[in-house]
Symmetry: C2
Subunit: 106 residues, 2 copies
């Protein structure tokens, strides 16, 4: 699970919904996330599936966790997403400066 880049992490629809959910309510446990994904997002994945998605998000640095008794709580971390918005210029903008793959990746 090492070396999960942010781009791949947000490529999955369910993982994006998880991030939305964590932004809406911070510090949720796995069970809470599962429940709210089903209720509010119409996603019916198993607990294990959601757990694996959370592993990916954590490996990409988009989620931070903390054990609390028998629960594991999750927080959204937005910092890694900033690089994406800054990597390419605006449309119709033909700037000559540009960042290479190596600048951002890894």
């Amino acid at each position: 699970m090492r070396h999960v880049d942010v781009y791949r992490a947000i490529a999955d629809r369910t993982r994006r919904a998880i991030l939305d959910e964590l932004v809406d309510r911070s510090g949720q446990s796995l069970f809470e996330i599962c429940g709210r994904l089903t209720m509010k997002h119409g996603i019916s994945s198993s607990r294990q599936a959601i757990s694996q998605h959370l592993e990916v998000l954590e490996a990409a640095g988009l989620v931070r966790t903390r054990r609390e008794g028998r629960s594991k709580l999750h927080w959204f971390v937005g910092a890694p997403l900033k690089a994406i918005g800054q990597r390419w210029p605006d449309s119709t903008d033909e700037d000559t400066s540009h960042s290479t793959e190596e600048d951002i990746e890894k």
Copy 2:
């Protein structure tokens, strides 16, 4: 090839390099892109592979094309990327407002 969302389009390393390349030099043909990807990015994919990547990028709205004789020229379009940067709040920011999947997707 219909309904390629932007997130999946930029999930691939080679496609991100193609966007970088088109930002660096607008209006390149498929052959030019292939050559420069090999030279500058160390990517050794076949012409067909690059062509398929360009189809994905075009379907996602990230690339615009125009036929010019026997060549097909390509331009970068950055607009679809803006939504990504605006979807999630900054880190440490615990704003209650949030956009749902439906707001942006499709």
